[in-house]
């Protein structure tokens, strides 16, 4: 009973990780860049979401606007920076990414944007019903997270497997020059990749903001760091791996906290997992090789 309830809580936590990690792993797959500024996209998504929600009062419209703006923000990040650094050594775009992350976090904390305080995001469960059975129960907010994640993942799955766009990402992740030689429009393809990945991060920001009823400027730091651990754990660039790893990390975190309490801060578990993975399975659980 308690076990099942813990599992269902872990599932909800995993959903937020999945949306964040999916975008990162897509970008890594195509560009081979560790896109640290993804955290800023997540925060911007939550911020736009809360602004749109307080103005318009409709959660679903707010979610759509937030995803669209985050997507555009992601494309702007790509076009202004990574685009020019595609052929540099890998550390060059990485450092640029760190720079953008630090810059956006600092700017977002300024009073003319988000300020240094927390905002409420009182969207509740967006009118969805709570689910309660004998074995486990989901609150309305949890149902919302589960529903949105499943819908978005289904859309991503269809794009990846059934469209030319998905095929072009696959080609670009194998060999960018070759893909371009056989007629893939790399610019459009990568920009679309950034748009989708960033929109997912924006959705994750909105959902976490609603779930905790709080949005603040540094909310992206830890989730983005965990997303990196997840894509290392799942094998860089592998979407099924990222989903599996999100579930594993969420379950481990939930059960360790439930069983041994605060021996270690909960968030350092993820870090220890990362170090162990890097030592013993550097290609991840489902990575190639």
């Amino acid at each position: 009973m308690l076990l099942l309830q813990n599992l269902s809580n872990a599932l909800i936590l995993a959903c937020t990780y999945i949306l964040m990690a999916a975008g990162l792993t897509m970008v890594y797959g195509v560009l081979k860049v560790l896109h640290i500024a993804h955290a800023s996209v997540y925060t911007v998504g939550a911020f736009v979401g809360v602004l749109a929600f307080t103005r318009l009062g409709n959660f679903w419209v707010a979610l759509a606007i937030a995803m669209f703006v985050s997507g555009i923000f992601g494309v702007l990040i790509y076009r202004s920076t990574y685009f020019y650094l595609l052929n540099s050594p890998r550390t060059v775009p990485l450092i640029a990414s760190v720079g953008m992350f630090v810059m956006f976090t600092d700017l977002l904390q300024k009073p003319f944007l988000m300020g240094a305080y927390q905002r409420a995001f009182p969207a509740g469960g967006a009118g969805l019903p709570a689910v309660k059975t004998a074995l486990f129960s989901f609150t309305a907010k949890q149902v919302l997270i589960l529903l949105v994640t499943v819908i978005l993942l289904a859309i991503v799955y269809v794009i990846l497997t059934r469209t030319k766009l998905g095929l072009s990402w696959q080609a670009a992740s194998m060999d960018r020059d070759m893909a371009s030689a056989v007629g893939v429009n790399l610019n459009q393809s990568i920009a679309a990749n950034f748009f989708l990945g960033s929109a997912l991060a924006g959705a994750a920001g909105v959902l976490v903001g609603v779930y905790n009823n709080s949005v603040f400027a540094t909310m992206g730091d830890l989730p983005s760091y965990k997303a990196f651990i997840i894509i290392v754990l799942g094998g860089m660039g592998s979407l099924p791996g990222a989903i599996l790893a999100s579930l594993i990390l969420a379950i481990v975190e939930n059960f360790l906290v439930a069983s041994i309490g605060y021996v270690l801060p909960r968030d350092s578990i993820a870090f220890l997992v990362l170090i162990l993975m890097l030592m013993f399975r550097p290609n991840g659980l489902l990575g190639r090789e």
Partner: protein
């Protein structure tokens, strides 16, 4: 008062020169970008603070202990480099920073979010180094010591080894240079030197707080190395001086310090990835050309 303020800025600049130089051993020499150098500063600062406050160890012993302990932790944290390519390891350095700060913050032994206060000032032969000129001399001496270590590392065989690793790990391995071993050396030395600065930092301020050692502070140090010129001796020094002094001189930047550091990193990557005074940078090429031509014309003048 004004001179006291000026001395404080100079003391901090000296400490940041040591930090930038020590980070450069890891990032510039061994080619391993680190996003967690502030963690080593913090480990050194807390080691020294805990030893002097809780166990009444004299400063000089605590200072040495901070160097040794931080060096050891750095070496252990460098171990994943035995297995992992460097862009993955970057993530680990970022994680080190998060975990170290959260340990300082949530473990009561380290004072939690309230930090540790009333850290005693160091004394030697009855002279107490409480701020002012003596402390500036102390931090400057340490900066010179760091510079000497860096110079030594770059001039001896290890300097060549580092250079080959940075350029091509596989080629280095084929020539009998073990890249992982040198990276672990670099982690250890770089952390130890930063730990020493941490001790000086704690006893200068008299208090330490977890927030002094957060991730963005690491990025500040990385900006100094990259802005000045990565992998050189002159680069980190010039970078540390400029990036400490510009926000002091231009007050409006002070409020946007991290925006400034971040934007600087992006701009440097886009236009001058080798840094302002790096070996292939625009400014350095022009400076050396100018020096050479003026030296030549001076020679002709003599004739």
């Amino acid at each position: 008062m004004a001179s006291g303020y000026f001395l404080t800025i100079l003391t901090f600049t000296a400490m940041y020169i040591s930090l930038a130089l020590s980070l450069n051993i890891l990032t510039g020499y061994a080619g391993q970008v680190s996003l967690g150098h502030a963690a080593f500063l913090g480990i050194g600062a807390y080691t020294s603070a805990v030893l002097t406050l809780r166990y009444e160890v004299p400063f000089w012993l605590a200072f040495l202990a901070a160097i040794v302990l931080t060096g050891l932790i750095g070496t252990i944290l460098g171990l994943p480099s035995l297995r992992v390519r460097h862009d993955f390891l970057v993530l680990a350095t970022m994680g080190i920073n998060f975990v170290v700060v959260s340990v300082f913050k949530y473990v009561d032994f380290f004072g939690g979010a309230m930090g540790l206060v009333n850290i005693p000032a160091p004394s030697l032969f009855g002279i107490t180094f409480r701020g002012g000129v003596p402390y500036l001399l102390l931090t400057t001496a340490y900066a010179l010591f760091t510079l000497w270590i860096c110079w030594y590392l770059s001039k001896t065989w290890s300097g060549l080894a580092f250079q080959t690793i940075r350029n091509d790990e596989e080629a280095a391995a084929s020539l009998g240079v073990n890249p992982a071993r040198y990276k672990i050396y670099a982690f250890g030395i770089s952390a130890a030197l930063a730990g020493g600065v941490g001790s000086l930092y704690a006893h200068f301020l008299g208090s330490v707080f977890p927030d002094n050692f957060v991730f963005v502070e690491s990025i500040g140090m990385l900006s100094m190395v990259i802005f000045g010129g990565i992998g050189t001796l002159r680069g980190p020094i010039v970078g540390a001086i400029l990036l400490r002094l510009i926000p002091e001189l231009l007050r409006f930047i002070q409020d946007y310090r991290f925006t400034f550091y971040g934007a600087l990193l992006v701009l440097m990557m886009l236009f001058q990835p080798m840094g302002l005074l790096g070996n292939d940078s625009w400014l350095w090429q022009h400076l050396t050309r100018w020096f050479r031509s003026s030296a030549r014309s001076a020679k002709e003048d003599v004739r």
